[in-house]
Symmetry: C2
Subunit: 189 residues, 2 copies
DNA sequence: CCAGAATGTACGTTATAACGCACGATTTTG
DNA sequence: CAAAATCGTGCGTTATAACGTACATTCTGG
C-alpha cells in the first residue's frame, strides 16, 4: 500500500461534499484552518495525527475511515453461500470448516461455519494479540475451554472470548456439533 | 475522546517492546529517525500521517491499531449468552431480537439472533454508508431483497450484502425463521 | 446591474515535525 | 577488566505543517 495521503485527500473532500460544507464552515467545525484543509484535500500536505483527529472529531467521523481504504466494491456485492457446498475437511481430523466469508481487511473478521465431529477434543494455539472470537452453537453440544475454564454451550448459546490465549474445543457427545464463528483480528491477518 | 497522541505513544512503545527492537533497529526497519521515534514514544511530538504510515508499514502492523484504543479488558472477558433468555419483542410486530453481543467500537460490528415470525414482510431503511450485513439461516426459510433482487435462504445458507441500501425481509412460510446476523459499521454507530 | 458575501487558492510567517549528530550511561565482547 | 558497541535523550538545523491574510472569481440579494 502506498502513502495514505492520497486516500486521505479524496476522503476528506468527499466527506465535506457529503455534508455540503464550504472550507470556511468546515474550518469552524473542526478547528483546523481552511487553508490547511484545502492543502490536505489537494494532497499538498500530510497532516499530523493530532490535526487529523481534530478533523475527524469535528466531522463526527472515525479516524480510521480517513486512513483505511473505503469499503471496496467487492464487499458491496451480494454474495450467497451454502455451507454444505464449501465445507472442507482439513488434514487434522474431526473438524470440518466452511469458510463462508473469509477474512476481509475492511471488516476485520472472518465468518465460518465449523462442524466438530463426535469425540473431537483438541487445543487451539493462541492467535495474535487482541483477537476476539464469537461462537454460536447451531446444533449439538460443544465445550470450549478458555483461561482454564470449560464452558458448555448447547444449541442457541453463544460465547465471546479472547482468542489470543490458548483455548480448547471438545465435543464429548455422540453427535456432531455445528457452530457459527466470527474471528476478529484487530491488527489484520 | 482526547487527542490520540498519548495512545499512540503507548502503542508504539509496546509494539517495539513486543518485537524486542531498540530504537536503532526500529529506525532501520521503518525509515523514521530514532530521535523521532523516541519523541513519539514520549508523547513529545505528533507525527504526520505519512510518518505514521512508514512506522506501521515497517512494523507490519495496521495503521488503525496505532490510533484506535486497544482491545479493552472488557472485550477480553469470556461472556456466555443464551438467546432464549434475552430475546426481545420490539414494538414493530413479527420480529424478535436477541442482542447477543451489541455493537463494540473496537470490533466494529454487532452480533444478533433474529427470529422472523411466519408471515413477516417488511422493508428496512438503508443504514449508514459502508455498512455490510451478513445473515445465516439457522432454522426455517427467509427471503432477503437487496438491490431489487430477492434471495431465498434456507437452513445453512448465508448472505452478505450492502446494508447501506434499502433492503427487505420476508418470511412467506408458515413457520418462524431464525437467523444469526452480523452488522458491520465502518464509521461506527 | 451592482455591492457585498462566499468560495477556494496562493503566499509569507510562525510553530513544530523530522532529522543528524553528540553525549553520557549501560551492556557486550575479547 | 578495558575497550567497543549499543542504547536512549537532548540539541541545533532543516523541512514542512499550520496558520492568518490577501486576492481573484463566483454567487446572491436588493
Amino acid at each position: 500500500m502506498k502513502d495514505p495521503k492520497d486516500h486521505l485527500a479524496q476522503t476528506l473532500k468527499q466527506v465535506r461534499k457529503d455534508k455540503k460544507l464550504s472550507l470556511d464552515r468546515a474550518a469552524d467545525l473542526t478547528g483546523v484552518s481552511k487553508a490547511m484543509l484545502g492543502q490536505i484535500e489537494r494532497g499538498e500536505s500530510s497532516p499530523t495525527v493530532s490535526t487529523l483527529w481534530k478533523i475527524a472529531t469535528g466531522f463526527e467521523v472515525s479516524l480510521s475511515s480517513f486512513i483505511e481504504p473505503t469499503t471496496s466494491q467487492n464487499l458491496k456485492k451480494t454474495v450467497a453461500r451454502t455451507a454444505d457446498e464449501i465445507r472442507q475437511h482439513p488434514a487434522e481430523g474431526g473438524l470440518m470448516i466452511a469458510p463462508l466469508f473469509p477474512y476481509e481487511s475492511q471488516l476485520g473478521f472472518e465468518y465460518l461455519e465449523l462442524v466438530f465431529q463426535a469425540g473431537y477434543d483438541r487445543e487451539s494455539a493462541a492467535h495474535a494479540p487482541g483477537v476476539i472470537e464469537i461462537v454460536t452453537v447451531l446444533n449439538g453440544v460443544l465445550e470450549i475451554c478458555c483461561e482454564g475454564i470449560w464452558h458448555k454451550l448447547e444449541e442457541g448459546q453463544s460465547l465471546r472470548f479472547a482468542g489470543d490465549k490458548p483455548h480448547a474445543y471438545r465435543n464429548a457427545t455422540g453427535e456432531d456439533a455445528k457452530v457459527i464463528t466470527v474471528i476478529h483480528y484487530p491488527n489484520g491477518r
